[in-house]
């Protein structure tokens, strides 16, 4: 257990701080989008055209390294999450965007097979989603 975990457990940290530190196990173990959104404390997301995938390929040659970039044009974007439909656990990453930081992030993810990739955006307390299909020619979860 980490020191922060101990402090949070002992009630030394304010609940807000503890929540910001704790890894959302339930969300990362979710098998479906609904479960993941619920674990993050939200309701069913609305489709949005204001979320764009940037420098994200249509076809990825190597599923172990798939670049994914997400930009949200929704005002008051608070967080951006990346979910991969056909991975064993859908949620790959979730980013909290404080005021002053551009609602645009990019990273690299693993994909076991061709799948829809979802960008889930929380803005002003509401959830929005956009998706993109990425075809993988070589899976990233094999041995």
């Amino acid at each position: 257990m980490t020191l922060l975990g101990l402090l949070a457990g002992a009630g030394w940290l304010a609940p807000g701080e503890a929540a910001a530190q704790a890894w959302n196990k339930a969300a990362f173990e979710a098998k479906t989008m609904d479960e993941a959104v619920k674990a993050m404390g939200g309701a069913a997301p609305a489709q949005s055209k204001d979320i764009a995938f940037v420098s994200t390929p249509d076809i990825a040659e190597n599923g172990a390294v798939v670049p994914v970039g997400v930009t949200s044009a929704i005002p008051k974007t608070e967080s951006i999450a990346i979910l991969i439909e056909k991975n064993p656990n859908m949620l790959a990453a979730s980013f909290d965007i404080p005021a002053g930081t551009d609602p645009s992030i990019s990273t690299r993810v693993k994909m076991g097979q061709s799948s829809n990739v979802y960008a889930l955006v929380k803005a002003d307390g509401k959830y929005y989603v956009a998706s993109k299909e990425i075809k993988v020619t070589l899976g990233g979860c094999g041995g």
Partner: protein, 103 residues
């Protein structure tokens, strides 16, 4: 102790663009070794970036982030010569903090 991160921070217009390359196995816990035993999961769970003591990005990651993770983001402000700090913590409790000077 894990290898240092490579961090590049540059002023672009009125913002600072930060690119980070971390050194980590990011083992999923799904893979089996040659003997058929499952390789235990080992991955970065949380990442925090700070500038002038203020958090400019925080993230929670699962094992689906690629080995040797890459991350890029932009925040408003930042001046040449200032420092940006990045910290990650993995699921074994290992931690690493590195800083870069904005150029």
């Amino acid at each position: 102790m894990a290898d240092p991160m490579k961090i590049r921070a540059n002023v672009v217009g009125d913002s600072t663009e930060v690119k980070v390359l971390m050194s980590h196995e990011m083992e999923t816990g799904q893979r089996k070794d040659a003997a058929g035993k499952t390789v235990p999961a080992w991955f970065i769970q949380s990442v925090t970036a700070t500038y002038n003591g203020k958090t400019v990005l925080s993230a929670q990651w699962g094992p689906a982030i690629s080995k040797n993770p890459f991350l890029s983001f932009k925040f408003k402000g930042g001046a040449k010569g200032d420092k940006v700090q990045i910290t990650w913590t993995d699921n074994k409790g290992d931690k690493r903090t590195d800083e870069a000077t904005i150029g």
